[in-house]
Protein backbone atom coordinates (compact mmCIF):
# COMPACT_ATOMS: atom_id res chain seq x y z
CA UNK A 1 0.00 0.00 0.00
CA UNK A 2 2.74 2.39 1.05
CA UNK A 3 4.86 1.52 -1.98
CA UNK A 4 1.84 2.06 -4.23
CA UNK A 5 1.24 5.51 -2.71
CA UNK A 6 4.89 6.47 -3.19
CA UNK A 7 4.88 5.40 -6.82
CA UNK A 8 1.60 7.21 -7.44
CA UNK A 9 3.07 10.37 -5.93
CA UNK A 10 6.27 10.08 -7.94
CA UNK A 11 4.37 9.74 -11.21
CA UNK A 12 1.26 11.82 -10.67
CA UNK A 13 2.63 14.79 -8.72
CA UNK A 14 4.54 16.40 -11.60
CA UNK A 15 1.68 15.68 -14.00
CA UNK A 16 -0.97 17.14 -11.71
CA UNK A 17 1.33 19.99 -10.69
CA UNK A 18 1.97 20.91 -14.30
CA UNK A 19 -1.69 20.63 -15.17
CA UNK A 20 -2.68 22.88 -12.27
CA UNK A 21 0.03 25.32 -13.35
CA UNK A 22 -1.44 25.33 -16.86
CA UNK A 23 -4.94 25.90 -15.53
CA UNK A 24 -3.55 28.63 -13.28
CA UNK A 25 -2.08 30.48 -16.24
CA UNK A 26 -5.27 30.06 -18.17
CA UNK A 27 -7.53 31.30 -15.37
CA UNK A 28 -5.18 34.22 -14.62
CA UNK A 29 -5.28 35.17 -18.27
CA UNK A 30 -9.08 35.15 -18.24
CA UNK A 31 -9.09 37.32 -15.14
CA UNK A 32 -6.88 39.74 -17.04
CA UNK A 33 -9.11 39.52 -20.11
CA UNK A 34 -6.52 37.68 -22.15
CA UNK A 35 -6.88 34.37 -23.95
CA UNK A 36 -3.90 32.75 -22.27
CA UNK A 37 -1.67 29.83 -23.26
CA UNK A 38 -2.79 26.21 -23.83
CA UNK A 39 -3.34 24.24 -20.65
CA UNK A 40 -0.38 21.98 -21.47
CA UNK A 41 1.98 24.93 -21.94
CA UNK A 42 4.00 24.28 -18.74
CA UNK A 43 4.92 20.84 -20.10
CA UNK A 44 5.98 22.31 -23.42
CA UNK A 45 8.10 24.84 -21.55
CA UNK A 46 9.86 22.20 -19.50
CA UNK A 47 10.37 20.03 -22.56
CA UNK A 48 11.97 22.93 -24.36
CA UNK A 49 14.15 23.82 -21.39
CA UNK A 50 15.53 20.28 -21.37
CA UNK A 51 16.26 20.50 -25.07
CA UNK A 52 18.35 23.66 -24.65
CA UNK A 53 22.10 23.73 -24.40
CA UNK A 54 23.11 23.73 -20.77
CA UNK A 55 25.30 26.65 -19.83
CA UNK A 56 25.91 27.12 -16.12
CA UNK A 57 27.69 29.82 -14.18
CA UNK A 58 29.15 27.32 -11.73
CA UNK A 59 28.98 23.55 -12.04
CA UNK A 60 28.03 23.11 -8.41
CA UNK A 61 24.70 24.72 -9.28
CA UNK A 62 23.54 21.62 -11.14
CA UNK A 63 24.40 19.43 -8.18
CA UNK A 64 22.58 21.77 -5.81
CA UNK A 65 19.49 21.87 -8.00
CA UNK A 66 19.38 18.08 -8.28
CA UNK A 67 19.71 17.81 -4.50
CA UNK A 68 16.90 20.32 -4.14
CA UNK A 69 14.69 18.19 -6.38
CA UNK A 70 15.63 14.89 -4.73
CA UNK A 71 15.01 16.21 -1.23
CA UNK A 72 11.68 17.66 -2.28
CA UNK A 73 10.61 14.38 -3.85
CA UNK A 74 11.87 12.54 -0.80
CA UNK A 75 9.74 14.74 1.46
CA UNK A 76 6.70 14.00 -0.65
CA UNK A 77 7.40 10.27 -0.61
CA UNK A 78 7.74 10.30 3.16
CA UNK A 79 4.47 12.19 3.45
CA UNK A 80 2.62 9.73 1.21
CA UNK A 81 4.16 6.67 2.79
CA UNK A 82 2.47 7.75 5.99
CA UNK A 83 5.65 8.71 7.84
CA UNK A 84 6.23 11.29 10.53
CA UNK A 85 4.83 14.65 9.40
CA UNK A 86 7.26 16.67 11.52
CA UNK A 87 10.16 14.88 9.83
CA UNK A 88 8.66 15.80 6.44
CA UNK A 89 8.61 19.45 7.31
CA UNK A 90 12.22 19.44 8.48
CA UNK A 91 13.42 17.76 5.29
CA UNK A 92 11.34 20.28 3.36
CA UNK A 93 13.22 23.16 5.02
CA UNK A 94 16.51 21.44 4.20
CA UNK A 95 15.48 21.28 0.55
CA UNK A 96 14.87 25.02 0.64
CA UNK A 97 18.42 25.57 1.90
CA UNK A 98 19.78 23.91 -1.22
CA UNK A 99 17.82 26.30 -3.39
CA UNK A 100 19.38 29.11 -1.39
CA UNK A 101 22.85 27.71 -2.05
CA UNK A 102 22.12 27.31 -5.73
CA UNK A 103 21.17 31.00 -5.81
CA UNK A 104 24.14 32.38 -3.90
CA UNK A 105 26.92 30.38 -5.58
CA UNK A 106 26.53 32.69 -8.55
CA UNK A 107 27.90 36.22 -8.65
CA UNK A 108 24.64 37.84 -9.69
CA UNK A 109 23.39 40.39 -7.14
CA UNK A 110 19.80 39.66 -8.19
CA UNK A 111 20.22 35.97 -7.51
CA UNK A 112 22.04 36.69 -4.27
CA UNK A 113 19.39 39.02 -2.87
CA UNK A 114 16.76 36.56 -4.15
CA UNK A 115 18.46 33.83 -2.14
CA UNK A 116 18.40 35.94 0.98
CA UNK A 117 14.73 36.64 0.47
CA UNK A 118 14.11 32.90 -0.04
CA UNK A 119 15.50 32.30 3.46
CA UNK A 120 13.36 35.14 4.74
CA UNK A 121 10.31 33.51 3.20
CA UNK A 122 11.18 30.21 4.88
CA UNK A 123 11.28 32.08 8.16
CA UNK A 124 7.81 33.53 7.52
CA UNK A 125 6.34 30.12 6.69
CA UNK A 126 8.03 28.00 9.32
CA UNK A 127 5.90 28.84 12.38
CA UNK A 128 2.67 28.07 10.56
CA UNK A 129 4.06 24.85 9.11
CA UNK A 130 5.39 23.60 12.43
CA UNK A 131 2.24 24.61 14.29
CA UNK A 132 0.22 22.61 11.79
CA UNK A 133 2.20 19.53 12.80
CA UNK A 134 1.65 20.33 16.45
CA UNK A 135 -2.06 20.81 15.86
CA UNK A 136 -2.42 17.39 14.26
CA UNK A 137 -0.46 15.86 17.12
CA UNK A 138 -2.65 17.39 19.78
CA UNK A 139 -5.74 16.19 17.98
CA UNK A 140 -4.73 12.67 16.95
CA UNK A 141 -1.83 11.98 19.31
CA UNK A 142 0.39 11.14 16.37
CA UNK A 143 2.59 12.79 13.76
CA UNK A 144 2.11 9.97 11.30
CA UNK A 145 0.03 10.85 8.29
CA UNK A 146 -1.06 7.22 7.84
CA UNK A 147 -2.88 7.37 11.18
CA UNK A 148 -4.19 10.89 10.72
CA UNK A 149 -6.14 9.86 7.60
CA UNK A 150 -7.81 7.09 9.59
CA UNK A 151 -9.37 9.53 12.04
CA UNK A 152 -13.07 9.44 12.82
CA UNK A 153 -13.75 12.95 11.66
CA UNK A 154 -12.01 15.62 9.61
CA UNK A 155 -9.23 17.51 11.35
CA UNK A 156 -10.54 20.84 10.08
CA UNK A 157 -13.46 20.66 12.51
CA UNK A 158 -11.10 20.99 15.44
CA UNK A 159 -8.29 22.86 13.65
CA UNK A 160 -9.92 25.72 11.67
CA UNK A 161 -7.31 28.22 12.91
CA UNK A 162 -4.43 26.02 11.79
CA UNK A 163 -6.12 25.57 8.43
CA UNK A 164 -6.45 29.34 7.99
CA UNK A 165 -2.80 29.92 8.93
CA UNK A 166 -1.63 27.24 6.52
CA UNK A 167 -3.80 28.63 3.75
CA UNK A 168 -2.20 32.01 4.32
CA UNK A 169 1.38 30.81 4.06
CA UNK A 170 0.45 28.73 1.02
CA UNK A 171 0.68 32.00 -0.94
CA UNK A 172 4.27 32.42 0.21
CA UNK A 173 5.12 28.79 -0.49
CA UNK A 174 3.67 28.97 -3.99
CA UNK A 175 5.53 32.26 -4.61
CA UNK A 176 2.45 34.10 -5.69
CA UNK A 177 1.62 37.78 -5.46
CA UNK A 178 1.47 39.53 -2.93
CA UNK A 179 4.34 37.43 -1.62
CA UNK A 180 6.38 36.68 -4.74
CA UNK A 181 9.48 38.11 -3.14
CA UNK A 182 12.32 35.73 -3.90
CA UNK A 183 11.21 35.10 -7.46
CA UNK A 184 8.14 36.08 -9.39
CA UNK A 185 6.31 34.29 -12.14
CA UNK A 186 6.93 37.11 -14.54
CA UNK A 187 10.27 38.86 -14.60
CA UNK A 188 9.05 42.42 -14.11
CA UNK A 189 10.44 42.58 -10.64
CA UNK A 190 13.29 44.58 -9.19
CA UNK A 191 15.22 41.30 -8.82
CA UNK A 192 14.46 40.24 -12.40
CA UNK A 193 13.76 36.58 -11.54
CA UNK A 194 15.34 36.51 -8.09
CA UNK A 195 16.67 33.10 -7.11
CA UNK A 196 16.06 31.72 -10.58
CA UNK A 197 17.84 34.55 -12.43
CA UNK A 198 20.96 32.51 -13.02
CA UNK A 199 19.21 29.21 -13.65
CA UNK A 200 18.93 28.19 -17.24
CA UNK A 201 18.00 25.28 -19.48
CA UNK A 202 17.77 21.98 -17.62
CA UNK A 203 18.46 23.58 -14.25
CA UNK A 204 15.46 25.84 -14.67
CA UNK A 205 13.43 22.83 -15.77
CA UNK A 206 14.49 21.06 -12.56
CA UNK A 207 13.34 24.09 -10.58
CA UNK A 208 10.01 24.01 -12.38
CA UNK A 209 9.46 20.33 -11.71
CA UNK A 210 10.48 20.74 -8.07
CA UNK A 211 7.96 23.51 -7.75
CA UNK A 212 5.23 21.18 -9.04
CA UNK A 213 6.22 18.51 -6.51
CA UNK A 214 6.23 21.13 -3.78
CA UNK A 215 2.84 22.53 -4.76
CA UNK A 216 1.28 19.09 -4.73
CA UNK A 217 2.82 18.38 -1.35
CA UNK A 218 1.47 21.66 0.05
CA UNK A 219 -1.97 20.95 -1.37
CA UNK A 220 -1.77 17.47 0.13
CA UNK A 221 -1.34 19.03 3.56
CA UNK A 222 -4.50 21.01 2.85
CA UNK A 223 -6.20 17.74 1.91
CA UNK A 224 -4.99 16.17 5.14
CA UNK A 225 -7.19 18.60 7.04
CA UNK A 226 -10.25 17.14 5.31
CA UNK A 227 -9.59 13.44 4.83
CA UNK A 228 -10.96 10.98 7.40
CA UNK A 229 -11.74 7.28 7.32
CA UNK A 230 -14.88 7.77 5.23
CA UNK A 231 -14.15 7.37 1.47
CA UNK A 232 -16.45 10.31 0.79
CA UNK A 233 -13.92 12.60 2.36
CA UNK A 234 -11.56 12.12 -0.60
CA UNK A 235 -13.69 13.91 -3.23
CA UNK A 236 -14.46 16.54 -0.59
CA UNK A 237 -10.72 17.02 -0.05
CA UNK A 238 -10.14 17.37 -3.79
CA UNK A 239 -12.82 20.04 -3.95
CA UNK A 240 -11.33 21.93 -1.02
CA UNK A 241 -7.86 21.71 -2.59
CA UNK A 242 -9.13 23.09 -5.90
CA UNK A 243 -10.98 25.84 -4.07
CA UNK A 244 -7.78 26.72 -2.20
CA UNK A 245 -5.83 26.83 -5.45
CA UNK A 246 -8.47 29.05 -7.03
CA UNK A 247 -8.31 31.33 -4.02
CA UNK A 248 -4.55 31.63 -4.54
CA UNK A 249 -5.06 32.62 -8.17
CA UNK A 250 -7.67 35.15 -7.13
CA UNK A 251 -5.39 36.70 -4.51
CA UNK A 252 -2.54 36.68 -7.01
CA UNK A 253 -4.63 38.70 -9.42
CA UNK A 254 -6.00 41.20 -6.96
CA UNK A 255 -2.96 42.36 -5.10
CA UNK A 256 0.35 44.11 -5.51
CA UNK A 257 3.66 42.70 -4.34
CA UNK A 258 4.31 43.36 -0.66
CA UNK A 259 7.68 44.24 0.75
CA UNK A 260 9.48 41.59 2.77
CA UNK A 261 9.06 43.36 6.12
CA UNK A 262 5.32 43.48 5.64
CA UNK A 263 5.30 39.81 4.67
CA UNK A 264 6.93 38.86 7.97
CA UNK A 265 4.53 41.05 9.91
CA UNK A 266 1.43 39.67 8.21
CA UNK A 267 2.39 36.01 8.15
CA UNK A 268 3.41 35.90 11.79
CA UNK A 269 0.39 37.94 12.86
CA UNK A 270 -1.99 35.58 11.07
CA UNK A 271 -0.15 32.52 12.33
CA UNK A 272 -0.20 33.69 15.93
CA UNK A 273 -3.77 34.96 15.80
CA UNK A 274 -5.35 32.00 14.01
CA UNK A 275 -3.20 28.99 14.82
CA UNK A 276 -2.16 30.30 18.23
CA UNK A 277 -5.68 30.85 19.48
CA UNK A 278 -6.74 27.50 18.05
CA UNK A 279 -3.82 25.87 19.88
CA UNK A 280 -4.82 27.39 23.22
CA UNK A 281 -8.38 26.18 22.83
CA UNK A 282 -7.17 22.68 21.93
CA UNK A 283 -4.96 22.52 25.00
CA UNK A 284 -7.77 23.73 27.26
CA UNK A 285 -10.27 21.26 25.82
CA UNK A 286 -7.89 18.36 26.29
Amino acid sequence: MRIAMIILYLVLAPLLGGLLDGLDRRISARMQRRVGPPVLQPFYDVQKLFAKQRIVVTNSQTFLMITYLVLMVFTGCMFYSGADMLMCFFVLSTAGIFLYFAAVVTDSPYSYIGGQRELFQEMCCEPAVLLTGVGFYLLEDTFETAKIVQADRSAIVALPGFFAAFLFILTIKMRKSPFDESTSHHPHQELVKGVTTELGASNLALFQITEWYENILMLSVIALFIINKSPWSIPAAILVVLAAYFLEILIDNTSARMKSGKMLELSWAVTIAAAGVNLLILILVR
Binding site: R33, S177, P187, S255, A256, M258, K259
Partner: protein
Protein backbone atom coordinates in the same frame (compact mmCIF):
# COMPACT_ATOMS: atom_id res chain seq x y z
CA UNK B 1 33.19 52.65 10.03
CA UNK B 2 35.42 50.15 8.21
CA UNK B 3 32.97 47.43 9.10
CA UNK B 4 30.06 49.36 7.59
CA UNK B 5 31.91 50.06 4.39
CA UNK B 6 32.39 46.37 3.81
CA UNK B 7 28.72 45.55 3.98
CA UNK B 8 27.94 47.86 1.10
CA UNK B 9 27.29 46.31 -2.25
CA UNK B 10 26.76 48.01 -5.57
CA UNK B 11 23.88 46.69 -7.61
CA UNK B 12 23.82 47.77 -11.23
CA UNK B 13 20.29 48.64 -12.26
CA UNK B 14 19.81 48.95 -15.99
CA UNK B 15 20.39 49.90 -18.76
CA UNK B 16 18.77 46.57 -19.62
CA UNK B 17 16.40 45.58 -16.88
CA UNK B 18 12.96 44.04 -17.26
CA UNK B 19 11.18 46.70 -15.25
CA UNK B 20 12.73 49.53 -17.24
CA UNK B 21 10.82 50.52 -20.35
CA UNK B 22 13.86 52.45 -21.57
CA UNK B 23 17.59 52.42 -20.95
CA UNK B 24 18.75 54.35 -17.93
CA UNK B 25 21.56 53.12 -15.77
CA UNK B 26 21.65 53.45 -12.01
CA UNK B 27 24.45 52.33 -9.76
CA UNK B 28 22.73 51.58 -6.49
CA UNK B 29 24.86 51.46 -3.36
CA UNK B 30 23.07 49.11 -1.00
CA UNK B 31 23.38 48.34 2.68
CA UNK B 32 21.41 45.12 2.92
CA UNK B 33 18.31 46.16 1.03
CA UNK B 34 18.53 49.84 1.87
CA UNK B 35 19.72 52.22 -0.81
CA UNK B 36 22.28 54.68 0.53
CA UNK B 37 23.41 56.30 -2.69
CA UNK B 38 22.53 56.34 -6.33
CA UNK B 39 24.53 57.46 -9.35
CA UNK B 40 22.43 57.90 -12.48
CA UNK B 41 23.78 57.81 -15.98
CA UNK B 42 22.04 58.07 -19.29
CA UNK B 43 23.40 58.35 -22.79
CA UNK B 44 22.71 55.00 -24.40
CA UNK B 45 20.40 56.25 -27.12
CA UNK B 46 21.56 59.73 -27.98
CA UNK B 47 20.78 60.31 -31.65
CA UNK B 48 21.66 63.95 -32.14
CA UNK B 49 18.21 64.86 -33.48
CA UNK B 50 18.67 68.51 -32.50
CA UNK B 51 21.63 68.79 -34.84
CA UNK B 52 19.62 67.36 -37.71
CA UNK B 53 17.72 70.64 -37.88
CA UNK B 54 20.66 72.16 -39.73
CA UNK B 55 20.29 69.64 -42.53
CA UNK B 56 16.53 69.43 -42.91
CA UNK B 57 14.14 72.01 -44.27
CA UNK B 58 12.14 73.51 -41.38
CA UNK B 59 8.95 72.05 -42.84
CA UNK B 60 10.43 68.58 -43.09
CA UNK B 61 11.82 68.72 -39.61
CA UNK B 62 8.29 68.44 -38.14
CA UNK B 63 8.43 64.75 -38.94
CA UNK B 64 11.80 64.39 -37.22
CA UNK B 65 10.54 66.25 -34.16
CA UNK B 66 7.55 63.93 -34.00
CA UNK B 67 9.80 60.92 -34.01
CA UNK B 68 11.78 62.05 -31.01
CA UNK B 69 9.67 59.76 -28.91
CA UNK B 70 6.79 57.35 -29.32
CA UNK B 71 4.52 58.42 -26.50
CA UNK B 72 4.78 62.20 -26.50
CA UNK B 73 5.18 62.32 -30.26
CA UNK B 74 2.27 64.66 -30.86
CA UNK B 75 3.49 67.11 -28.26
CA UNK B 76 6.97 67.31 -29.73
CA UNK B 77 5.58 68.02 -33.17
CA UNK B 78 3.25 70.60 -31.68
CA UNK B 79 5.99 72.32 -29.68
CA UNK B 80 8.23 72.52 -32.69
CA UNK B 81 5.63 73.96 -35.07
CA UNK B 82 4.44 76.41 -32.42
CA UNK B 83 7.99 77.66 -31.96
CA UNK B 84 8.48 78.07 -35.71
CA UNK B 85 5.08 79.76 -36.04
CA UNK B 86 6.02 82.17 -33.27
CA UNK B 87 9.27 82.96 -35.10
CA UNK B 88 7.41 83.63 -38.32
CA UNK B 89 4.40 85.38 -36.76
CA UNK B 90 1.96 82.91 -38.28
CA UNK B 91 -1.54 82.93 -36.83
CA UNK B 92 -3.07 79.46 -36.98
CA UNK B 93 -6.81 79.12 -37.80
CA UNK B 94 -8.99 78.60 -34.75
CA UNK B 95 -10.30 75.23 -35.88
CA UNK B 96 -6.73 73.98 -36.18
CA UNK B 97 -6.07 75.17 -32.64
CA UNK B 98 -9.03 73.20 -31.33
CA UNK B 99 -7.99 70.10 -33.24
CA UNK B 100 -4.48 70.35 -31.82
CA UNK B 101 -5.95 70.66 -28.34
CA UNK B 102 -8.07 67.55 -28.80
CA UNK B 103 -5.12 65.52 -30.04
CA UNK B 104 -2.93 66.83 -27.22
CA UNK B 105 -5.42 65.56 -24.71
CA UNK B 106 -5.71 62.20 -26.45
CA UNK B 107 -1.93 61.94 -26.21
CA UNK B 108 -2.21 62.72 -22.50
CA UNK B 109 -4.83 60.02 -21.92
CA UNK B 110 -2.66 57.56 -23.81
CA UNK B 111 0.49 58.49 -21.90
CA UNK B 112 -1.10 58.44 -18.46
CA UNK B 113 -2.84 55.10 -19.00
CA UNK B 114 0.38 53.61 -20.28
CA UNK B 115 2.12 54.94 -17.21
CA UNK B 116 -0.57 53.59 -14.89
CA UNK B 117 -0.02 50.17 -16.41
CA UNK B 118 3.73 50.37 -15.98
CA UNK B 119 3.27 51.52 -12.41
CA UNK B 120 0.97 48.58 -11.67
CA UNK B 121 3.55 46.30 -13.21
CA UNK B 122 6.32 47.87 -11.12
CA UNK B 123 4.53 47.03 -7.89
CA UNK B 124 3.73 43.55 -9.14
CA UNK B 125 0.00 43.89 -9.85
CA UNK B 126 -0.18 42.14 -13.18
CA UNK B 127 -3.94 42.20 -13.51
CA UNK B 128 -4.17 45.95 -13.01
CA UNK B 129 -1.45 46.42 -15.61
CA UNK B 130 -3.53 44.55 -18.19
CA UNK B 131 -6.64 46.54 -17.33
CA UNK B 132 -4.85 49.86 -17.80
CA UNK B 133 -3.41 48.84 -21.13
CA UNK B 134 -6.76 47.53 -22.28
CA UNK B 135 -8.30 50.95 -21.62
CA UNK B 136 -5.39 52.59 -23.39
CA UNK B 137 -6.29 50.53 -26.44
CA UNK B 138 -9.70 52.22 -26.59
CA UNK B 139 -8.02 55.60 -26.77
CA UNK B 140 -5.55 54.37 -29.38
CA UNK B 141 -8.50 53.33 -31.53
CA UNK B 142 -9.72 56.94 -31.45
CA UNK B 143 -6.29 58.20 -32.40
CA UNK B 144 -6.12 55.75 -35.25
CA UNK B 145 -9.54 56.78 -36.47
CA UNK B 146 -8.73 60.49 -36.47
CA UNK B 147 -5.10 60.54 -37.58
CA UNK B 148 -4.41 57.18 -39.20
CA UNK B 149 -1.55 56.47 -36.83
CA UNK B 150 -1.51 55.00 -33.38
CA UNK B 151 1.62 56.50 -31.87
CA UNK B 152 3.00 58.91 -34.45
CA UNK B 153 0.07 61.16 -35.29
CA UNK B 154 1.81 63.21 -37.99
CA UNK B 155 -0.98 65.75 -38.28
CA UNK B 156 0.92 68.92 -37.49
CA UNK B 157 2.48 71.22 -40.01
CA UNK B 158 3.78 74.74 -39.80
CA UNK B 159 0.65 76.84 -40.22
CA UNK B 160 -2.00 74.39 -39.08
CA UNK B 161 -3.00 70.75 -39.18
CA UNK B 162 -3.27 68.21 -41.97
CA UNK B 163 -6.39 66.29 -40.97
CA UNK B 164 -9.84 67.14 -39.74
CA UNK B 165 -12.06 65.52 -37.16
CA UNK B 166 -15.46 65.26 -38.82
CA UNK B 167 -18.79 65.44 -36.89
CA UNK B 168 -19.19 61.65 -37.30
CA UNK B 169 -15.82 61.08 -35.72
CA UNK B 170 -16.70 63.50 -32.93
CA UNK B 171 -19.73 61.36 -32.05
CA UNK B 172 -17.59 58.22 -31.90
CA UNK B 173 -15.02 60.02 -29.76
CA UNK B 174 -17.65 61.18 -27.25
CA UNK B 175 -19.18 57.74 -27.13
CA UNK B 176 -15.92 55.84 -26.66
CA UNK B 177 -14.63 58.30 -24.11
CA UNK B 178 -17.76 57.80 -22.01
CA UNK B 179 -17.12 54.05 -22.02
CA UNK B 180 -13.49 54.60 -21.16
CA UNK B 181 -14.41 56.96 -18.35
CA UNK B 182 -16.83 54.48 -16.80
CA UNK B 183 -14.27 51.68 -16.81
CA UNK B 184 -11.50 53.95 -15.65
CA UNK B 185 -13.44 54.71 -12.47
CA UNK B 186 -12.93 51.09 -11.38
CA UNK B 187 -9.23 51.25 -12.14
CA UNK B 188 -8.95 54.54 -10.28
CA UNK B 189 -10.71 53.03 -7.30
CA UNK B 190 -8.29 50.12 -7.24
CA UNK B 191 -5.28 52.44 -7.32
CA UNK B 192 -6.70 54.58 -4.55
CA UNK B 193 -8.29 52.09 -2.16
CA UNK B 194 -6.67 48.67 -2.62
CA UNK B 195 -4.81 47.68 0.53
CA UNK B 196 -1.78 46.11 -1.13
CA UNK B 197 -1.40 48.98 -3.59
CA UNK B 198 -1.47 51.57 -0.83
CA UNK B 199 1.06 49.50 1.05
CA UNK B 200 3.49 50.09 -1.81
CA UNK B 201 2.65 53.68 -2.71
CA UNK B 202 1.73 55.56 0.47
CA UNK B 203 4.61 57.46 1.98
CA UNK B 204 7.12 56.13 -0.55
CA UNK B 205 9.42 58.58 -2.34
CA UNK B 206 8.20 61.73 -0.67
CA UNK B 207 9.27 65.05 -2.17
CA UNK B 208 8.29 68.29 -0.48
CA UNK B 209 7.16 71.37 -2.32
CA UNK B 210 10.50 73.05 -1.61
CA UNK B 211 12.51 70.11 -2.87
CA UNK B 212 10.49 69.98 -6.04
CA UNK B 213 11.22 73.65 -6.61
CA UNK B 214 14.94 73.40 -5.91
CA UNK B 215 15.41 70.32 -8.05
CA UNK B 216 13.51 71.88 -10.91
CA UNK B 217 10.93 69.11 -11.24
CA UNK B 218 7.87 69.69 -13.37
CA UNK B 219 4.57 68.30 -14.53
CA UNK B 220 2.45 65.80 -12.62
CA UNK B 221 5.55 64.93 -10.60
CA UNK B 222 5.62 68.47 -9.21
CA UNK B 223 1.83 68.80 -8.98
CA UNK B 224 1.74 65.71 -6.75
CA UNK B 225 3.83 67.70 -4.28
CA UNK B 226 1.42 70.58 -4.18
CA UNK B 227 2.89 72.85 -6.88
CA UNK B 228 -0.15 74.14 -8.74
CA UNK B 229 1.67 74.75 -11.99
CA UNK B 230 0.22 73.62 -15.28
CA UNK B 231 1.68 75.17 -18.42
CA UNK B 232 -1.66 74.72 -20.17
CA UNK B 233 -2.80 77.73 -18.13
CA UNK B 234 -0.73 79.86 -20.49
CA UNK B 235 -3.70 79.36 -22.79
CA UNK B 236 -1.77 78.20 -25.82
CA UNK B 237 -3.82 76.64 -28.64
CA UNK B 238 -7.44 76.47 -27.48
CA UNK B 239 -6.69 76.00 -23.79
CA UNK B 240 -7.44 79.67 -23.16
CA UNK B 241 -11.09 79.06 -24.01
CA UNK B 242 -11.54 75.86 -22.03
CA UNK B 243 -12.33 75.57 -18.37
CA UNK B 244 -9.93 73.63 -16.19
CA UNK B 245 -7.86 73.85 -13.04
CA UNK B 246 -4.50 72.14 -12.41
CA UNK B 247 -4.87 68.78 -10.69
CA UNK B 248 -2.94 69.02 -7.45
CA UNK B 249 -2.23 66.70 -4.55
CA UNK B 250 -0.22 67.58 -1.46
CA UNK B 251 1.33 64.36 -0.17
CA UNK B 252 4.23 64.23 -2.62
CA UNK B 253 4.49 60.44 -2.49
CA UNK B 254 3.84 57.72 -5.05
CA UNK B 255 0.22 57.56 -4.00
CA UNK B 256 -0.26 61.26 -4.76
CA UNK B 257 1.39 60.83 -8.16
CA UNK B 258 -0.99 58.00 -9.06
CA UNK B 259 -3.84 60.17 -7.89
CA UNK B 260 -2.75 63.22 -9.92
CA UNK B 261 -2.09 61.34 -13.15
CA UNK B 262 -5.31 59.35 -13.06
CA UNK B 263 -7.38 62.41 -12.23
CA UNK B 264 -5.72 64.14 -15.16
CA UNK B 265 -7.11 61.46 -17.44
CA UNK B 266 -10.60 62.40 -16.29
CA UNK B 267 -9.69 66.04 -16.79
CA UNK B 268 -8.48 65.31 -20.32
CA UNK B 269 -11.72 63.54 -21.15
CA UNK B 270 -13.57 66.59 -19.90
CA UNK B 271 -11.38 68.92 -21.95
CA UNK B 272 -11.98 66.91 -25.11
CA UNK B 273 -15.74 67.15 -24.47
CA UNK B 274 -15.48 70.90 -23.99
CA UNK B 275 -13.37 71.30 -27.11
CA UNK B 276 -15.76 69.24 -29.23
CA UNK B 277 -18.69 71.30 -27.95
CA UNK B 278 -16.96 74.57 -28.85
CA UNK B 279 -15.05 73.73 -32.00
CA UNK B 280 -15.81 76.28 -34.76
CA UNK B 281 -15.89 75.63 -38.49
CA UNK B 282 -13.14 76.99 -40.66
CA UNK B 283 -9.85 76.40 -42.38
CA UNK B 284 -7.37 73.77 -41.22
CA UNK B 285 -4.25 75.67 -42.10
CA UNK B 286 -2.88 78.89 -43.52
CA UNK B 287 -0.21 79.09 -46.19
CA UNK B 288 3.23 79.92 -44.87
CA UNK B 289 5.61 82.09 -46.84
CA UNK B 290 9.24 82.89 -46.24
CA UNK B 291 11.76 81.42 -43.86
CA UNK B 292 11.98 81.62 -40.08
CA UNK B 293 14.17 84.29 -38.61
CA UNK B 294 14.71 85.29 -35.01
CA UNK B 295 14.22 83.07 -32.00
CA UNK B 296 11.41 81.79 -29.81
CA UNK B 297 10.93 79.87 -26.62
CA UNK B 298 7.78 77.79 -26.36
CA UNK B 299 6.53 75.95 -23.32
CA UNK B 300 4.08 73.12 -23.59
CA UNK B 301 2.49 70.91 -20.97
CA UNK B 302 3.35 67.45 -22.18
CA UNK B 303 1.77 64.46 -20.43
CA UNK B 304 5.02 64.09 -18.48
CA UNK B 305 5.36 67.76 -17.65
CA UNK B 306 6.65 71.05 -18.94
CA UNK B 307 8.61 70.67 -22.19
CA UNK B 308 10.57 73.57 -23.61
CA UNK B 309 11.19 74.20 -27.27
CA UNK B 310 13.67 76.75 -28.47
CA UNK B 311 14.04 77.63 -32.12
CA UNK B 312 16.62 79.94 -33.63
CA UNK B 313 16.31 80.80 -37.31
CA UNK B 314 18.76 82.55 -39.58
CA UNK B 315 16.60 83.57 -42.53
CA UNK B 316 17.30 80.44 -44.55
CA UNK B 317 15.10 77.38 -44.80
CA UNK B 318 17.41 75.62 -42.36
CA UNK B 319 17.18 76.53 -38.70
CA UNK B 320 20.33 77.34 -36.80
CA UNK B 321 19.29 75.66 -33.56
CA UNK B 322 16.44 73.61 -32.24
CA UNK B 323 16.46 72.82 -28.59
CA UNK B 324 14.15 70.48 -26.75
CA UNK B 325 14.19 70.18 -22.98
CA UNK B 326 12.03 67.25 -22.01
CA UNK B 327 10.25 66.84 -18.68
CA UNK B 328 12.20 63.68 -17.85
CA UNK B 329 15.44 65.62 -18.09
CA UNK B 330 14.15 67.93 -15.38
CA UNK B 331 12.76 65.15 -13.22
CA UNK B 332 15.80 62.87 -13.00
CA UNK B 333 17.42 64.91 -10.16
CA UNK B 334 14.18 64.58 -8.22
CA UNK B 335 14.10 60.84 -8.84
CA UNK B 336 17.63 60.40 -7.48
CA UNK B 337 16.71 62.40 -4.40
CA UNK B 338 13.75 60.15 -3.59
CA UNK B 339 15.88 57.02 -3.92
CA UNK B 340 18.28 57.85 -1.12
CA UNK B 341 17.23 55.92 1.93
CA UNK B 342 14.50 53.89 0.26
CA UNK B 343 14.47 50.12 0.16
CA UNK B 344 15.64 48.25 -2.91
CA UNK B 345 12.14 46.94 -3.58
CA UNK B 346 10.98 50.54 -4.12
CA UNK B 347 13.49 51.34 -6.86
CA UNK B 348 11.34 50.25 -9.82
CA UNK B 349 8.44 52.31 -8.49
CA UNK B 350 10.59 55.36 -8.00
CA UNK B 351 11.97 55.09 -11.52
CA UNK B 352 8.55 54.62 -13.06
CA UNK B 353 6.96 57.31 -10.94
CA UNK B 354 8.63 60.14 -12.89
CA UNK B 355 7.24 58.54 -16.04
CA UNK B 356 10.70 58.37 -17.59
CA UNK B 357 11.06 58.83 -21.30
CA UNK B 358 14.76 58.43 -21.89
CA UNK B 359 14.39 58.32 -25.63
CA UNK B 360 13.21 61.94 -25.83
CA UNK B 361 15.45 63.02 -22.97
CA UNK B 362 18.54 62.14 -24.95
CA UNK B 363 17.08 63.04 -28.31
Amino acid sequence: MEEREKKRSVVPFGPQHPVLPEPIHLDLVLEDEKVVDVIPSIGFIHRGLEDLVKKRDFNEYVYVAERTCGICSFGHGLGYVEAVEKCMNVEVPIRAKYLRTIWSEMARIHSHLLWAGLMADAFGFENLFYQCWRLREKNLDLVEMTTGGRLIYSVNKVGGVLKDITPDMQKVILNNLSELEAELRDVYKTFMTDYSVQERTRGVGVLTKEQVHDLGCCGPYARASGVARDIRQLGYEAYGELDFEPVVSNDGDNYARCDVRLREVFQSIDLIRQAIAKIPNGELSVPVKGNPDGEAFIRIEQPRGEAIYYVEGNGTKFLNRFRLRTPTFANIPGMCETMKGCSYADIPLLVVTIDPCISCTER
